[in-house]
Structure formats: C-alpha cells, structure tokens
C-alpha cells in the first residue's frame, strides 16, 4: 500500500478528525508534527501552499488539504467502516451537518476569544447554534451518523473532549447536561467509543498547552480557518 502521511499540529481538533477517520478504517499512516505557529516547514509550504495549514494528508506523494475534503477522500479511498451512508439523501444530510459545523466555527468558538460582556454574548450565540444541532442535527439518534459514527460525528468530536478543557480554562460552560440532554448523552457515547477513546489527546497535557497561551487567542487563531 502506498505511503500515507498526515501533517498535523498537536492537539488540533481539525487534525484529530483525520486521525479518527484513519483509525476507524484501520489505515496505517505516518504522523508528522508541524510547528504551525512559529516555524512552518518547507514540506508544509510545499504541500499546502494556498492555506499553509494542517491537517494535510499525503497519499502516494500527493497532498490533500482541508479536513472536510480529506475526510471525503479517505471515505472514497478506504470504503471499509463507512463514514457516509449509501443513499444520496442521507449523504447530503451528513454533509449538511458537517458543513454546519464548519460554518458555525466563529459562533461556536466565540467564547474563546472574548472577555466580559462580549464573552457572555458569544456564549449565548454559540448555544443558539448548539440548540439547532441538538434538536435538528442529532435529534433522537445515537450518533449523527445514525447507529454508527459518521462524518458529522467527527466534525463535532471537539465538543466531546476539547470543550471540557477550554471550559476549565475560561470558566465558561457551553453545554450543560440539563439544557442539552441529547448532546450531553452523545458526548458520553462518542468519547467512550473504543477507537475514539484510545485516540484522544492527554487531558492534562492539553490543559498545560492551552493555558500556555494568553486568553486562548493564539490557539484560536491557529484553529480558525484562514
């Protein structure tokens, strides 16, 4: 099998999305850590000249950038343990919610880069989007993908793990169990799912990492799409 390499930056949730997809499908890959804040490598600039960001998947020497595009590529190249259903309408829905996650990034991450009154407002806006996600995206399903983890679950994986760490640092709780019972239940299911559970970044290391930045503004910039 041709060489698969993933250029990433620990502990980016965009990168983890790709790691989960590869692991769920049992694809062997080489991971390469990039310093995206202070010292981007020649390799990264060569493989993603347009955005100069991670993740980048390199397969048989050919690079693919943008996590959503990478996930579709992985799905098509390694069809086992599918992340998308077979029927076109189901696929369109999975892609819709994946895109919702991307488009609402600014609103959902807003509480990370604001303070005081602004942060209260940003938190509310984030929760409005989560309300839509809970009621219309997830509904009564076990996972966004139905009975199995799908593309949209990977998109929102950060809610199941990164959010706790950011909440601890900022003191802001975006998802309370009583207000978002379905999302809360999904969070427990997602992070307990065997392949996912084995593939989560160490929590205390994350705390140290994110605390190291003043007000989380720097990692936010690193996380935000260019």
């Amino acid at each position: 099998m041709a060489q698969v390499t993933l250029l990433g930056a620990w502990p980016s949730p965009f990168v983890y999305r790709v790691i989960w997809a590869l692991k769920l499908k049992g694809v062997d890959y080489e991971y390469v850590e990039e310093d995206i804040l202070y010292n981007k490598s020649e390799r990264l600039l060569k493989y993603n000249p347009v955005h100069k960001m991670v993740p980048v998947l390199v397969h048989a020497g050919k690079p693919i950038a943008e996590s959503a595009v990478i996930l579709e590529y992985i799905e098509e190249t390694w069809p086992q343990n599918p992340l998308l259903p077979k029927d076109p309408h189901g696929r369109a829905l999975a892609r819709f919610w994946t895109k919702f996650g991307e488009d609402k990034n600014p609103a959902l991450f807003g509480f990370l880069r604001t303070e005081g009154e602004q942060q209260v407002k940003a938190t509310k806006e984030g929760q409005e989007q989560l309300r839509i996600l809970e009621e219309q995206g997830l509904g009564d399903k076990k996972f966004f993908g139905g009975d199995e983890i799908g593309m949209a679950d990977l998109e929102f994986g950060w809610l199941a793990w990164w959010l706790e760490v950011w909440s601890e640092i900022t003191g802001v709780t975006l998802i309370e169990a009583e207000s978002f019972p379905r999302l809360h239940a999904w969070i427990q299911r997602f992070k307990e799912f065997p392949t996912i559970k084995e593939t989560l970044p160490d929590r205390s290391a994350m705390l140290t990492h994110y605390k190291g930045y003043k007000g989380l503004r720097t990692p936010y910039l690193a996380l935000a799409k260019s």
């Binding site: 693919i64 990478i70 098509e76 076109p88 309408h89 892609r95 819709f96 895109k99 919702f100």
Partner: protein
C-alpha cells in the same frame, strides 16, 4: 415513478445558478420557483429551517440544501448521465478543495466590492483579483478546470461570471485585463447551453444590485 423535482431559488444567486447548471447538464426536468428573499415562502422555511436560504432542491418531497452539496446529490442520483465530478478520488479531492477556496476567498472579497467604498473596496478588489489569479493558475492551459470535460469546479466558479459586469462597474476595474485566461475559460463555458440558459443577464444583475444597495442604504 416519475421524479418530482422543485428548485427554490433566486435568479441573481450565484449559488442557485450552480444548481440550475447541474440540473441542465443532466437534462433533469424540474419546477423553478423564484423566492422573494425579503418575504420567504412557507415552503422555504419548512424545507430549510436551519438556514432559511436558497437554493433548496426538493426531490420527491425531500429537501437538499447548500449548493455544492446539492450538486453532489444530483451527481449521485442521476449518475448515468454527464458525470459532474471526476471518477478518481484525488481529482475529486482537488475539485472539492478549489470549490471550498471559491466559497471562502472569492465570495467574501466579491461581496465587499459592491457593498463597500474607498479603502475597504480597494482591499476587496485586490483580494478578489488575487483569488481569481490563483484560480487562473490552477486552470493553466486546460480547457476546463479538471481537464477536457466541463464539471463540478467549472460549475462552482462560472456562476460568478454573471456578476463580473457588476463588480467592474461598481469597482471601476477590468477583470479581463487582470485575468484574460479566466475570461477565455468563462466564454468557453458560456457556449454551453446548460450554462448560458442558467445564468441571468449581467445587466439585470447590475440593476438588481443597484436596487439592493438603495434598500440597504449603501450608496
């Protein structure tokens, strides 16, 4: 059973146009419904409750939203005619990557060309041309973005061509002077009936934008 296909759209929408072109490429019969975006229909609100936006494709009663997701859907359902995406996964990834680039870089820049003035407008023009030049580079010497055949990425970009006259007039610049190869590509696409019949008259788009600016109080 015959397919019932309805498209909720607005004639000047670059996103709606993408769906029109895709449907035309596949020769799919559908009912076009023009939405008044200041007075959205009950059907639109019911079929796209999350964003309340057009385009929405309603296929046998089930809605599909987001223009590029709709184009994927059309390609998957009516897969036996005129494939829109290439068959090779890497080529597909490239098409998706550049379509994402168009929706992020190009869309934001073009909006400010017709809503902003002075410094802000100049910056927007610069960003817009830069993005077009990157796309022109991607096109290279090929007739269409993915090679010999018109497809997904051409569809994603060509719809903006109907707005070029508006950008040029309001921004006081010539896109052809900056990106001649891209204009050749656009004219090539416009020779296809699926494209020329799906895009509005650029002069009508300009009049529509002038009216929009008045209503928004942006003159």
């Amino acid at each position: 059973m015959a397919d019932v296909v309805i498209l909720l759209d607005a004639y000047a929408s670059v996103f709606g146009m993408r769906v029109r072109v895709a449907l035309a490429e596949k020769g799919i019969k559908y009912e076009y419904r023009e939405e008044d975006l200041r007075n959205k229909s009950q059907l639109l609100l019911k079929m796209n409750p999350v964003h309340k936006k057009i385009p929405v494709l309603i296929h046998n009663g089930k809605p599909v939203c987001e223009s590029l997701i709709i184009v994927h859907y059309i390609d998957e359902v009516w897969k036996d005619k005129a494939p829109l995406l290439p068959s090779d996964p890497y080529q597909r990834a490239q098409a998706r990557f550049w379509a994402d680039f168009i929706d992020k870089k190009l869309y934001d820049a073009q909006k400010k060309i017709w809503t902003a003035k002075g410094e802000e407008q100049e910056t927007a023009k610069k960003e817009f041309i830069e993005a077009l030049k990157v796309l022109e580079g991607e096109l290279g010497g090929k007739p269409y973005f993915m090679g010999e055949r018109f497809g997904f990425l051409d569809i994603a970009l060509i719809t903006f061509y109907s707005w070029f006259h508006t950008y040029e007039t309001l921004g006081n610049f010539s896109i052809e002077a900056e990106c001649p190869k891209l204009i050749s590509w656009a004219k090539r696409c416009m020779q296809k009936e699926s494209v020329s019949k799906s895009l509005p008259d650029p002069k009508k788009v300009y009049e529509y934008i002038l009216e929009m600016k008045k209503k928004l109080g942006v003159e």
